[in-house]
């Protein structure tokens, strides 16, 4: 077992999938000889050949649409959109076709494809390279949207996404690509999609987050522990479907829920979680559900980027408010 960072774990999962399933084919911009701009596919073209690891022209619409067509005919396309900011033109294909082909043919055609895209800020990238627009995708019926938070979870969830019989958007928190390393076993074991993961246990407060914001969320939980406040940390992992049961069970225990996400506040996934708790856990709540999120602003360019990202301080202030409320 080796210590791997997230980008290495993703590469290992892709390699495993290519190795085990001859129908798996990778395509995207610069994923071949360049190995992807983040090196997620480094070395794969040499190992599996240019028929299975394909550089596409600069064509996000055709990357997504071609994945739809190929998936209906027995291939397992794992396509890459280079940055989430360039994914918008692919949403037509995701929403109009990938996510509804099974339904509109009453099960005759299906679309087992994966669309990978790095997302989120915090690496000082150019404009349009740092967005977190996952709520737009989670709103699309028929889709699955998955976000890993650790190298090991990235490995298992990506394999699950590739094995899934329906389309999955796999959003990779690029701030975590090389942030930490941990042991990852190349055992080909997929993690279940749709299950949230409880990363830390606590009885006073539930912190729900996903992707890169779990870094700040963990740091806040650690600081709270120093004050004698035990926070439970839940990694949502699957943004569609949402594992409501795990969140409700935790909040029924703690009575407090704080949701942390990098995406803008309004109509973000935090709103869905807060509404679900209001509908199902009202009598368990000791304090109003709170959200610490990105602002409803355009994602700032790099000089103000850090001012946008939810900080440990903001999470702690909200947590303190909630503990003081009751």
């Amino acid at each position: 077992m080796t210590d791997l960072n997230m980008i290495e774990a993703i590469r290992m999962a892709l390699s495993r999938a290519l190795e085990e399933d001859p129908d798996v084919v990778l395509f995207g911009e610069d994923i071949g000889i360049d190995g992807g701009v983040f090196r997620a596919t480094d070395g794969l073209i040499q190992r599996y050949g240019s028929a299975r690891v394909r550089d596409t022209p600069l064509s996000e619409t055709v990357i997504a649409g071609m994945a739809v067509g190929a998936a209906t005919q027995g291939l397992k396309p794992v396509a890459e959109i280079q940055f989430m900011g360039f994914l918008y033109s692919a949403i037509d294909q995701l929403a109009n076709h990938a996510a509804r082909l099974r339904n509109r043919t009453r099960g005759r055609l299906s679309c087992p494809m994966v669309l990978r895209a790095p997302f989120g800020g915090g690496i000082g990238a150019p404009e349009h390279h740092s967005e977190s627009m996952e709520a737009m995708l989670a709103h699309i019926p028929g889709l699955r949207v998955v976000v890993p938070s650790t190298p090991a979870r990235a490995y298992g969830l990506l394999l699950a996404a590739i094995q899934d019989p329906d389309p999955v958007v796999f959003l990779e928190p690029k701030r975590l690509y090389r942030a930490t390393s941990e042991p990852v076993v190349d055992d080909g074991a997929a993690l279940p999609i749709g299950d949230a993961a409880r990363l830390r246990e606590g009885g006073d407060l539930t912190l729900v987050s996903w992707g890169a914001m779990l870094k700040e969320t963990h740091a806040a939980a650690e600081a709270l522990a120093g004050e004698g406040i035990e926070a439970e940390v839940i990694d949502l992992s699957s943004l569609k479907p949402i594992d409501r049961r795990t969140i409700r069970a935790s909040v029924e225990k703690t009575g407090r829920c704080l949701i942390v996400h990098e995406a803008p506040l309004t109509a973000g996934l935090g709103a869905e979680i807060a509404a679900d708790l209001a509908e199902h856990c009202l009598t368990s709540l000791l304090a109003p559900v709170r959200r610490v999120t990105g602002y409803d602003t355009v994602m700032p360019y790099l000089r103000l980027e850090d001012r946008y990202m939810p900080s440990v301080g903001r999470i702690l202030r909200a947590a303190h408010d909630m503990m003081e409320f009751a």
Binding site: V62, M66, G69, L75, R106
Partner: protein, 346 residues
Amino acid sequence: MAEPLVFLNAAGACVRDLPDFARDGQTLKALYAAMVRTRRFDAKAVALQRTGRLGTYASSIGQEAISVGVASAMRAEDVFLPSFREHGGQLWRGVTLEELFLYWGGDERGNDFGGPRQDFPVCIPVASQYPHAAGVALAMQQKGSGGVAVAIGGDGSTSKGDFYEALNIVGIWQLPAVFVINNNAWAISVPRSQQSQAQKLSDKAIGTGLPGEQIDGNDVIAVRAATERALERARAGEGGTLIECLSYRLGDHTTADDASRYRDEEEVSPHWKEEPLIRLRAHLVEAHGWGKKDEEALLRACAEEVDAAAETYLATEPEPARAMFDHLYADLPPDIAAQAEEARDD
């Protein structure tokens, strides 16, 4: 500028040597019957819509030769990716009249084709079927299946980036795909002249390295001949082709449209002389002994078949409310299954 490929002119006269398939009377009669059947289906569908028994419907009247000609050149293992005006091709491929009525009547079960299981349902968002064709062709190339992906769209669809992106990648990867443009001169209210300054839409292939050809889309023989050549190229590993078929939309865009708002009858009426059935019928009479009795028998058979299919459709009960969840995912997530419990039929 080269003239569009044509074998039978509007009067039904042969203007060049016919390809082999078109010397056979039975083949031509089958093509003619398929076009007549399509037109009968169109008429019935419009009538059902006008009487509140079908959803919004896109008639293909006047463009039957494109759809039928293309489909008749294909093999069963090829995959057809039509836009919403290609009923004739779907019927030729084995989609049933009942399925078409069911689909246009608002029931997704009409897309669960019993016949061509791999064919795509009609593409409603214009031009997004072209990237699918590239993907289908990629799978065919990768698996060495020998099949070809055949996509059809309208003249308006060539203005979208999807069209260019799909042709472009098919060119780079030499994928087995054929792109057919049903240029019926109108995209709802926007005429061809306002769609592009390109002299020919088939010229748009030049920028992708694909061969492009403009043909008379009202001559089913030309359509089939051009499609056969394109399919042969694709099967030989020589890549994709773009075929622009010139035709004319004799009807409204759909039953929800009123074309008199934007085009005059004087523009439309000359095109009735050029539509595809007249010329093939004239040729059948001239060269293959097609008589009045043959014509009447065909019309009667088509009418009976279409009416019977319509009755079957009208007698088909809608699915229960719960059905909107049944094929959303292979396995419905518990999160969404909870909503399915709320979907009631009362």
